[in-house]
Every structure is written in structure tokens, then in C-alpha cells.
Amino acid sequence: MLNALAQLGRVGIGMLERLGRGHLLLLGILRGLPDLLPRPGLLIKQIYSVGVLSILIISVSGLFVGMVLGLQGYYILSQFGAEQTLGVMVAASLVRELGPVVAALLFAGRAGSALTAEIGLMKATEQLSGLEMMAVDPIRRVLTPRFLAGFISMPLLAALFSALGVLGGYFVGVGLLGVDDGAFWAQMQAKIDLHEDVFNGAIKSVVFGLVCTWIALFQGFDAVPTSEGVSRATTRTVVHSSLAVLGLDFILTALMFGD
């Protein structure tokens, strides 16, 4: 019994230690932001790696999610004779929820896991130690540009996901199922609110971008420097990021749309 309690205590202390290290790392990363100003090349390179290379998976996924929304929405709305509001349903679902959330889950899977593996391998191959011994702070030089790149890329990727999703819904609803073209866009324009829907969705994607990139960088930096350690860290990145996105989505939704 006492042993079990001691074990529980050790696990708790371990988790708190990791949480503390994670926050200290975030502080170090944020302190490095001013260093990026004279070196925009570092940021641009990472935006390409983290953001641009994620465009394909985000675009294709957005298109398909929008097409499925168009299909499912049409069958439900047509039962009430409300198929003309399909545009509103597709756009609201995407901009408020699916855009930020699914884009963040895809971002964690593609860019987050890549970031963790890259940083973890840099640690395992002593590249981070090498930088330290060259009097270069690896947090400022390696982690900060990647963090800012994730922070900037995520909202843009979520916007792209939503935009292509709307096009997918339009293609299925208007192109295949015969919903009126003008009604699709006019209803959407009338009912989607810039502040209530678009702005709140953007806030979500900013928060998800910050959290996913932070988790990915911390897991890589804190990885045990072996092949098994990097593999576990990469898995943890995807699991922790996904859970964090879904949990935070509930909290943010309750704060934004709850009465």
C-alpha cells in the first residue's frame, strides 16, 4: 500500500517536473524572439518546412471534409425543406469548429511529429550540445524560429482548410445535388458573422498552433537521446497535441459561445 502511494507520488512529481521544464523552455523560446528580427531567413526557412509543406495534406483534407459536410448536410436539411441553408451549415461548421480543430490535428500529425523527430535527433547526434559548445544557445537559434513558424502557420492553414472545405461543400451541394447557387452564397454571407464565427475560429487556431508547436518542441528537446527515446517522444507529441486540441476546443467553445 505504502509502496503504491510512493509510486503514485513519484509519477506525480515526475509529471510536475516535466510541466515545469516545459514552461521554462517556453520562457526561453519567447526570450529568443527579439534575436529573430535581424535573421528573418531562419524564420522563412521554418515557415516553409512547418507551414508550406503542410499545405497539401491540409488542402486535400479540407476539400474532402467540406464535400462530406455538403453531402450529409443536404440529406438532413432537405428533410425539412431547408437545403437552401446548406452554405451556412457548411461554413459555420468549418469556420467555428472543423477548420481549427481538424487542421490542428493534421498539423500535429505532420508538422508536430516532424519537429519532435528533428529536435530529438539533433539532441541524439549531439548537434544541440555542439551548438552550446560553440557558444550558441540552441533554444534561441533552433527552437524559437520553429515555434514562431508554427504559431504563424497554423491559423493560415486552418483558414485554408475552411476555405477549401466551403468549396468542397459548394461542389457537392450546388454542383451535384442541385442547391441554388445564389442561395448557397447569399445565406452564408448573411448568417456568418465576422466576429462571432470567423474571429473566434481564428483565436482557436492561434491557440492550437501555439500549443501544438510548444508540445512538439518540448517533446523533442526533452527526448531521451536514443532511437527508442525519439520514437516515444514523437508518439507523445501526436497523442498529447491531439488531446490538448480537443480539450482546449471544448473550453474555448464554452467560453466563446456559451451564454
Binding site: 547526434t125 549531439e126 548537434q127 550540445s129 555542439g130 551548438l131 552550446e132 559548445m133 560553440m134 557558444a135 550558441v136 544557445d137 537559434r141
Partner: protein, 273 residues
Amino acid sequence: MVESVDSQVPLVSIRGLRFSRGSRVIFDGVDIDIPRGKITAIMGPSGTGKTTLLKLIGGQLRPSAGTILVDGQDIHRLGNRDLYRLRMRMGMLFQSGALLTDIDVFENVAYPLREHTNLSPSMIRKLVLLKLEAVGLRGARELMPSELSGGMARRVALARAMVLDPMMIMYDEPFTGQDPISMGVLVELIRALNDASRLSSIIVSHDVQETAAIADLIYVISNGKVIESGGPEAMINSELAWTRQFMQGLADGPVPFHYPAAELADDLLGGAC
């Protein structure tokens, strides 16, 4: 930049060093002096903490007790700014080379110059080419690290470690896993660079012949303590059985051939797995 202190004072002075990982004691009261302008070797079997010692000297790890003075400065009492300023005068050659894998050989060697100086691109080019020439790899400047052999990667790392003209270079197992030609090249390079650039070098290694061939002073460490120190000849012909066993590569001696176990007869007749 802090001026070097008296040349008679050791470049690195370690006193009463204690360091543990969990419950395992790595160093227990180690005293070492690294003289200026010489090649000092720290030798001992695998797992004795030789690489850890270099990380302690470089300020990447903190000891649980004791002091490490580098050029008169207690490295573990320095603030970040002073620590980084001191590290600019210390080069380190990692066992793996630790080259940045996303940039080519030229950019790897130029990296410290771009980070710490405001030199013009043409001056950086000249300096990098000179350092690459010194390690015989000027022609490999456009190769990526993944295209280099292990020996070439270490030579590029050596050029990078020297590019800021440091006062000392620390070598972590420079000869491990090298073919005879690469080994010979590295042995020659380390000696030649130390003498030509008036460096001080610290080599941690368990490759006895290569290290003894170029070292001026050898410290033999085991079980967290310095067993013996002296010139290469004295170490090879040491009267201490442990040192002799290590330096001459004898299979049995104070370090037993067998891992501690129960008597063989008991084990065989015991029956239990």
C-alpha cells in the same frame, strides 16, 4: 575578452570534483591539472565518465561538489553571458562530429564566424577555406555532412572547432571507429594543430597506442578516481597493476575477465534458471 592569466598556471584546474547520476557516483574527489600548450590525455575504460568530464569542463553539466577553473575562471559560477564568452575560446570535437546536418561543410565551418563576428563574407570565405585546407578538406566544402565518411566528418568538425582560434580544444574519443588511415591522419592533425596554433588539447580516449603517441601527459581514471598520472612511457611501464593492465590491454588483472557471478559449479548444479 578576458586576458589569459599567467602561462605557468594550469589552463584547467579541477579540484575535489564530485559528480553523480542518480545513485551512481561518476567522480569522487578528482583532482586534475591541464597544462597550457600541451596535449593532455584522460584515459580509462568505457563508462568511466570521460565524456562527462569534458561536459563538466565545458560547463554543460554541473558538479555536485568541487571546482573547475578554466583559464582562472570558475566555469560553474559564471553567468550565461560570461560562460558563452569563455566557450568561444574553447573548441570541442564531439565523438559523432556533431555537424549540423542541414547545411554543407563550408557553412558548418563558417557557422561560428557568422554567429560571433561581423566579418565580411569574403573574409569568412578565406578563413573557412584556410581551416579546411589545414584538415585537408578544402575540396569537400560543398558536400553535405551525410556525404562524408566518419573520419572526414571529424576533420570538418575539427576545422569548425578551430575556426575562432580557441585557446584549447577538447577531443571526445577522436579515434573511435576510424580506419587505420583516418586514425593516422587524425593523430597527425591533432599534434600538428596543437603545436602550430599553440593550443592546449585535452583528449579523452581509450585508444592507448594512438593517444600515447601524441600525449605529453596522461591521466588514467577508473571508478571515479584518478589512478595515476604521468608521461606516456611512465604510464605504459607503470608499477601499478591496474594501469599496466589498461595500458597494455591485458585480458585479466585487477579488472577481472569475469563479470561478478556465483561459482560456476553452483550455477551449473543449482538447476534453477
